[in-house]
Symmetry: C2
Subunit: 552 residues, 2 copies
C-alpha cells in the first residue's frame, strides 16, 4: 500500500484549529500550501518506500559502528537538501522561521511514512531549541547552523540504567578542563540515533553532574559532546551496543559509553547545575513531537485498513458479495480510526499553534501550551496504539502476518507511550503542575474557552465532569491526585479534542468525512470518557489495601 499525506485534513486543521492565518508574521496561504505539498512529496516519495524494508533489515551494530537500513542515507540526503530541517528553525541561524505548526504537519507525515526514520530529525529539532535558548553565543555560532541545515544531527542523552523516569539519579560525571571545556565520563542508555551512518558528525546533548553539585535534578548540567572534535579527531565516546526492540527497528537505540579513555570532551550548555531547564526545553519539544508520532502512525494505520477493507470481499449484504468495509462493525472500526486520528491531529496541531503564539509574545498561549503538552504526549500516543491495534483487527488473520504491514504500525506505536516521559509521568505532570499553573487559571481558561464555544450536549456534559474532577483533584492529597491522574488526563484530552474536532466540522471547509468523524467522536468517544469520571476521583486508598507483592 502507498501512503498519501493527508494534505486536506492538515490544511483544514491549520485553518480552523490552529487559525494559522491569524499568526503574527505567519506564512501566507500559498506558503502553507507549498509546505504541505512539499512535505507530502518528501514523505510519500522518500520515506514511505523504506518503512517496511527498514523494519525488516533494522539498524545493525558492528564494533561500535551502526549501519542504517538500505536507502536511509539517500533519503536523509533528500531531507537535508530539501532544506526540511530548517523549516521552523530561527532565521538568524539559517532557518526559515516558519511556524512550529507547519513543522507539525511535516513530522506528522514523516511519522506516518516511516517513524523509525523520522526519529532522527525529531531529536535535532529539540536540540535546536535547547541550544538556541540556553547555549552560549560561541556554541550557537559553531554548531547551530549545521544542526539547522541537517548536516549534523543531534541526540538527547538523559537515561542511565538507574535513572529513567527519575532523571535526577543520573551519575555521568563532568570534570572541567583548563580551556573551559569538560571531560565527560559515564554510560547512557536508550539513546535514539546515538550512532549511525547518515552523517559524519553527530552532536550529543548529554546530562551530567559536575563536582560538588547538589543531589537530584538541581545538580544536573547539560553538555554538548560532538562525535568529531573541532580538530577533526574522534571524541572519546562510543556506541557499545544497540537494543533488540519490539518495533522502530530502523531506529538505532544505543548504549553510549563516554570517556573510556579519560573523558569525552564537551561544552556546557547553559549554566552549571542548570541542565534541567535546558532539558525541559528539549523535552517539551520532544513530547509534542512524540504526540505527533501517535497521530502519524494512526493516519498510516487508518489508510492501510481502509484500503484493505475496500479490497477484501467477505460475506454478503442484500444478497450481494461486498467488501468488508460495508459490514457495520468493520465500518465502525474504520470510522473510529478516522475520528480518533482527526481528533488527535487537532489536539496536537493546536498545541503547536499555541507554542507559535507564545513565541510571538502571547503569554496566555505559553501557559496553554504548557497545559496541553502532557495531553498531546499521552493521549495522542494512546490513540496511536489503539488505532494501530484496530488496524490489525480490520485485517483479520492477515493483520497478524508481518508482510501485511498492519502489525508493524502497532509494534512501532507501542514505544510512544513510554519514551520522553512515560504517559504516567505526563498524567502526574498534569495533576501535579499544570492543574495549578498560574494559580489554576491556565487550566480553568481552557475549560472556559470550551464552554464558551461548544454546542454539543455530550461535550458539555464531559466538560462539566472534568470541572468537577479538577475541583476534587485540586483538593485531594497528593497520592489521591496521582491515583486519578491517568483517567483524568484522558478525560481532559477527549474534551479538548472533541471541542476542536467540533470546530473543524463546523468550518466552511469541512467535507462529509470530517463531519462524519466529528459526529462519531462526539457521539461515541466523548461519552466513553464520561465513564472515566469514577476512576479519576476514586482516590489512592483503593490502590494500597494490599502490598504490591500480593498482586503477583
Amino acid at each position: 500500500m502507498s501512503f498519501t499525506a493527508p494534505v486536506r485534513d492538515q490544511r483544514l486543521t491549520l485553518d480552523s484549529v490552529v487559525k494559522i492565518s491569524e499568526l503574527a508574521n505567519g506564512p501566507d496561504s500559498e506558503m502553507v500550501d507549498a509546505v504541505l505539498e512539499g512535505a507530502a512529496a518528501l514523505a510519500e516519495g522518500e520515506f514511505a518506500p523504506l518503512s517496511r524494508s527498514g523494519d525488516t533489515q533494522g539498524a545493525r551494530w558492528d564494533n561500535g559502528a551502526v549501519t542504517t537500513p538500505r536507502g536511509f542515507k539517500q533519503a536523509w540526503n533528500a531531507f537535508v537538501e530539501g532544506g526540511w530541517m530548517t523549516l521552523a528553525a530561527p532565521e538568524h541561524h539559517g532557518g526559515q522561521g516558519l511556524p512550529f505548526a507547519l513543522s507539525a504537519a511535516l513530522m506528522d507525515n514523516l511519522n506516518a511514512a516511516n517513524v523509525g526514520f523520522a526519529l532522527c530529525p525529531m531529536l535535532s529539532m529539540g536540540a535546536i531549541e535547547a541550544l538556541e535558548q540556553h547555549g552560549s553565543e560561541e556554541l550557537k555560532r559553531d554548531y547551530l547552523p549545521k544542526i539547522v541545515s541537517g548536516e549534523w544531527p543531534a541526540t538527547m542523552n538523559l537515561t542511565e540504567p538507574q535513572a529513567g523516569s527519575d532523571v535526577g539519579a543520573l551519575k555521568t560525571r563532568a570534570e572541567p578542563n583548563p580551556d573551559g571545556s569538560w571531560r565527560i565520563t559515564g554510560t547512557k542508555i536508550f539513546i535514539t540515533y546515538g550512532e549511525h551512518d547518515l552523517s559524519e558528525q553527530i552532536l550529543h546533548l548529554v546530562l551530567a553532574r559536575t563536582h560538588g553539585s547538589p543531589e537530584g535534578t538541581r545538580g544536573i548540567s547539560l553538555f554538548l559532546v560532538p562525535k568529531i572534535l573541532p580538530d577533526g579527531s574522534r571524541n572519546d565516546l562510543r556506541c557499545v551496543s544497540i537494543e533488540h526492540k519490539m518495533g522502530i527497528h530502523a531506529s538505532p537505540t544505543c548504549v553510549m559509553s563516554y570517556g573510556d579513555h579519560g573523558g569525552a570532551t564537551g561544552w556546557l550548555v547553559g549554566p552549571e547545575n542548570g541542565g534541567m531547564a535546558a532539558m525541559f526545553t528539549m523535552m517539551n519539544n520532544a513530547r509534542l513531537n512524540v504526540g505527533l508520532q501517535g497521530v502519524g502512525i494512526a493516519e498510516a494505520a487508518t489508510q492501510r485498513a481502509v484500503a484493505y477493507a475496500l479490497d477484501r470481499k467477505q460475506g454478503v449484504r442484500n444478497r450481494l458479495p461486498v467488501a468488508i468495509a460495508e459490514h457495520p462493525d468493520v465500518r465502525r472500526m474504520l470510522l473510529r480510526m478516522r475520528a480518533l486520528t482527526m481528533g488527535a491531529r487537532a489536539l496536537a496541531y493546536y498545541a503547536f499553534g499555541q507554542v507559535d503564539r507564545g513565541v510571538r509574545g502571547d503569554p496566555q498561549a505559553v501557559l496553554r501550551a504548557d497545559v496541553l503538552t502532557p495531553l498531546v504526549k499521552a493521549w495522542c500516543t494512546d490513540v496511536g496504539c489503539e488505532v494501530a491495534s484496530l488496524g490489525v483487527q480490520v485485517h483479520g488473520g492477515m493483520g497478524y502476518i508481518e508482510e501485511t504491514g498492519a502489525a508493524q504500525h502497532l509494534r512501532d506505536a507501542r514505544i510512544a507511550p513510554i519514551y520522553e516521559g512515560t504517559n504516567g509521568i505526563q498524567a502526574a505532570d498534569l495533576v501535579g503542575r499544570k492543574l495549578g499553573l498560574d494559580g489554576g487559571l491556565a487550566f480553568d481558561e481552557l475549560i472556559a474557552d470550551i464552554e464558551a464555544e461548544t454546542q454539543h450536549p455530550g461535550l458539555i456534559a464531559l466538560t462539566d465532569a472534568v470541572e468537577i474532577a479538577a475541583a476534587s483533584l485540586r483538593e485531594a492529597a497528593p497520592d489521591d491526585r496521582l491515583a486519578g491522574s491517568y483517567p483524568f488526563l484522558t478525560m481532559c484530552s477527549v474534551m479538548t479534542a472533541g471541542w476542536l474536532i467540533e470546530r473543524m466540522a463546523l468550518s466552511e471547509q469541512a467535507d462529509g468525512r470530517t463531519k462524519a468523524a466529528a459526529d462519531y467522536f462526539l457521539s461515541v468517544v466523548v461519552p466513553e470518557a464520561l465513564g472515566l469520571g469514577a476512576a479519576a476521583e476514586v482516590g489512592a486508598a483503593l490502590l494500597y489495601t494490599v502490598p504490591a507483592e500480593e498482586l503477583a
Copy 2:
C-alpha cells in the same frame, strides 16, 4: 522471571464461581487440588522454560517439514505421558471424564506459560468433541483413543484465502471413492500446527464441499484426513509454507495443500452437508479456549509486571527511594492488571462450568454457555491485549526491549481477538443469535440472576444499562444492532465478570488481594463500561454518512 501457576485463584474461582462441588459426578476436593497442582507443575516445569526460546527460534519450515523449537518435543512427551490430554475426554474413549472447568485451569496455565505451545493440545480438544459428537462408531474406534491419549494431535482446517469469516465461501472439494472414503483437493490457510515434528501422525479435520452441494454454509461437509494413512503410507497432503507472524512464533501457522497428486484420502465426519454443525462443536470449544488464552497471557503479564515493579527502584516516597510498585499510577496499573485478569478468569471458568452442567443434563446451562461463549472469546481476549500492553508500560523502556519478555506477551496476545471468529463476529453472534436465544429468555435469565445476587450500586446501574440497551437492540433493524454490537458485548462481559468477581470477594475463602481486585473492578471497570451505553445504541446511520473510501 519464572511463572507461578495461580493455584489459589484457580481454586477460589472453581469453588465460588463454578461451584465445582455441586457438579453431578464431579471430582472431590482432593482431586481438584491434585489436578491444579499437577497442571501447575507441568506448566511451570515443562512449558514456561521454553516460552522465550520458542519465540526467538520460532517454528521452521523446510521442504514441507516443520521443525518446532528446541525442547518442544520433550515437553510434548511430558504432556502426553502425564495423561493431560485425557483430562476432560470421555471415559469410554480413554479419557478421565473430569469437568471441562478443570481443563480450563490446565489450559489457563499452559497459555500463561507458553501460548505458542499450548495451541497444539487446544486444537486436539476441539477435535475430540467434534469426533465424539458427530463421528461414526468406526471413526471413533479408529481415531479417538489416540487423539485422547495425545499420540495423534489434531488440527482444524476451515480457512481458505477467499473464505475467512465467510466460511461458506470455501472451495476445497471432496469426491467419493468406491470404498466409502473421499478424495480431498484444495488449499487451506492459517492452519495452526498443520505440520510439525511432535508426533508421527497428525489428524486434519477439513471442511470441504461435495459434488452438487448447496451454496454457502449449508453445503459444507467435515472430513477427517490423516497425515499417515492406515496402511502406513503418506497421505496426499503437504504443508507448503508457514507464516511470519507478529507473535506466537513457536506455533507453526501453515498453508496446507490437499490433493496435489490426485486427492488426499479422508472420511466423512457426520452427514454430508452437515459440516457446519460439527464445525460449531469444534468452534465453540475453541472459542472458550481462545478466551482462556487471554486469561493466561494476562496472568503471565501481570506476574512479570509485578515482579519488575517490585525490583525496579525509581524516585522517592516520603524521601526514601522506593520500588516503582509504590508509585500510585504504577500501582494503579498493577491492580488493574490483576483485577482484569481475575474478572476474565471468573467469566471464562464460569462458562466452562456451564458447559459441564449442560453435559450433565441441565438444559438451562447449555443456553447459558451459548450466551456466554461470545463474551468469553471476545472480552477475555481484549483483556489479554490490554493487560499485556499495561505490562509493557509498567516496564517503561525495558518493556520495549524484547529480552525482557513483556513485549512478547503483547505480540502473542494480539492474535486472540482475531482467530476462531474475530471479536466482531462474536459481537454479531451475541446480538444476532444469543440475544434472541430461547425467545430471549436465555439472556434475560442471566440478567435476572445478576440482579438477584449483586449488592453493588455500580453493578446494578450497569445491569440496568445493559437491560435498556438489550431492549433497544432487540427492536432495532439488523444494521443498527450490529453497529452497537461491540460496545454492547463489552458491557455484557463486564457486567457478568463484575457479578462473578463480587461473588469471589464475598466468599469465605477470599483473601485481601481478591477483595482489592474486586473493589477495583467494581469501582472503576464497571463505571467505564457504563460509558459505552451511548455507543451500543448509536445506530448504523452514523456509520454510513460517507462512503468508506472517504475514510482513507
